[in-house]
């Protein structure tokens, strides 16, 4: 393994960066993920702004959350810093800045995951995992060869996608989901969305229950399948994840794009064309990618 030998040269490439013409591929892939996190964070910006106004107007005290994790100021700061970290990361090529931004992003998103205002919003959970990926990935830029880093990055991104879908599938293995009753209550009964509006227009209540039953089972089976993404060839895995995420948005709820955009970012990096030639771009050393 010649990774150590290329380390300083790659750092030079990244940090001095006459990057405008040809950005190193790892930087591009990291930008894709960061941009997708930014889309996730901004997709419901109107919702978040309204939420912050309500939180400031009607603060809630409870015994469970520490005071600082009920504070509207902390929540607003964490959200703002997350967006700022994404923006800086998108325009930076210095590994230290990229790592710092990703670390800040991961920390802020974790705070959102445990904050009274946002613990229930899966947007922050999926963004947190994408940010954690970015932190690990940027920490290896210049330490691993590009090829190796990209291959490991894609593998870990598929692992993350798999475990997120696994979480969805396992929590639904209960009679309420298998019978379709839960999704009937949430979506089919009254949700104002084009699919459910059309179904309500054309089918009786009994038929809607039958449709919701098979819809719910299809969701469980699909999530089970996507929990195995890490076992598939990488492009197949990425396409399956992309199709599934887009399908969820188009057929369930467009607002879910805030949850799914960052997952789409993780999936897209697996579509990256064939790895670079198995020669270090920087040193020309032969590259061992471990078989």
């Amino acid at each position: 393994m010649s990774a150590a030998g290329c380390s300083s040269d790659t750092n030079l490439l990244v940090s001095t960066s006459s990057v405008s013409a040809t950005l190193p591929t790892p930087i591009v892939l990291n930008r894709i993920v960061i941009a997708s996190i930014l889309v996730s964070l901004l997709w419901k910006i109107r919702y978040f702004l309204l939420a912050f106004a309500v939180y400031f107007e009607y603060p809630l005290h409870d015994e469970f959350f520490p005071a600082w994790l009920s504070s509207s100021g902390v929540s607003l700061a964490a959200y703002t810093l997350s967006v700022a970290a994404c923006l800086v990361s998108l325009f930076s090529v210095d590994r230290r800045y990229l790592m710092g931004c990703s670390l800040l992003l991961t920390a802020c998103l974790y705070i959102q995951c445990i904050h009274q205002h946002s613990y229930n919003d899966v947007t922050f959970l999926t963004c947190f995992w994408s940010a954690a990926w970015s932190f690990w990935f940027t920490s290896r830029i210049g330490r691993d060869h590009d090829n190796l880093l990209i291959e490991k990055g894609v593998f870990i991104s598929h692992l993350i996608l798999s475990v997120i879908f696994l979480g969805g599938a396992m929590g639904k293995l209960t009679p309420g989901y298998w019978s379709g009753q839960v999704l009937y209550d949430i979506y089919f009964a009254a949700r104002d969305f084009w699919v459910f509006n059309i179904l309500r227009e054309h089918f009786s209540n009994d038929t809607l229950h039958a449709i919701s039953r098979w819809y719910s089972r299809f969701v469980i089976v699909t999530e089970m399948g996507c929990a195995c993404l890490w076992l598939l060839p990488r492009r197949w895995a990425s396409w399956l994840a992309i199709i599934t995420c887009c399908g969820i948005c188009l057929f369930s709820n467009v607002l879910l794009l805030s949850v799914l955009a960052c997952l789409l970012g993780l999936a897209v990096i697996g579509l990256h064309e064939e790895p670079l030639p198995r020669q270090s771009r920087v040193t020309g050393d032969a590259l061992d990618v471990g078989g």
Binding site: M1, A3, L50, A51, V54, Y55, E57, Y58, P59, L60, H61, D62, E63, F64, P66, Y110, C113, I114, Q116, H117, Y119, N120, V122, L125, F128, A132, F135, W136, R140, R143, L148, E151, K152, F155, I156, L159, S162, V163, F165, L166, G167, G168, M170, G171, K172, L173, T174, P175, G176, Y177, V182, D185, I186, W230, R234, V259, D288, V289, G290, G291
Partner: protein, 157 residues
């Protein structure tokens, strides 16, 4: 890249951060796969959804476990009317199903806006179910003259 290639590379390059990330993901996957079979994990998940984990730190640890549209979660929200003779009556305002974290019917901004903007005193019953495990909690929610809302759990059903 296959898992054996990944692990070999992690060892060869001494990539501790990848090993840590992999380890955390693996632990979460084991936890999730065990959910249908382990009563303890089911109970921990139910308590997580009701903000009743044994400690806040334990709950924080579980918050990185993906749980989209998990469990069967229902809520009943009632207005609570305190009467002079120390009795109280409740009037159900809304009931329904939520996708996850039924406590969002108390803490989320739309619950605060839709319900507690107008109600001074409310009672909320939350129920989550996973296979044979059920957890129901009752909450008393009060708003003072400064619009500060306080939520207190006062028993299980």
């Amino acid at each position: 890249m296959r898992i054996n290639q990944f692990l070999r590379n992690v060892v060869q390059t001494g990539d501790l951060s990848a090993a840590t990330l992999f380890g955390v993901i693996l632990a979460i996957a084991v936890w999730l796969v065990s959910l249908p079979f382990s009563e303890k994990i089911q109970q921990a998940t139910l308590m997580r959804f009701h903000l009743q984990s044994p400690s806040f730190l334990a709950w924080c640890g579980l918050q990185v476990v993906p749980a989209m549209y998990n469990l069967e979660n229902r809520y009943w929200l009632s207005e609570r009317v305190e009467q002079d003779d120390a009795t109280r009556s409740v009037r159900c305002i809304e009931s329904g199903t939520t996708n996850h974290f039924p406590t969002r019917m108390i803490t989320s901004f739309d619950a605060r806006y839709r319900f507690f903007r107008q109600l001074d005193h409310a009672e909320v019953i939350l129920e989550s179910r996973y296979r044979d495990q059920v957890l129901a909690t009752r909450w008393q929610v009060d708003k003072d003259s400064n619009n500060v809302i306080s939520a207190r759990r006062f028993g299980e059903n």
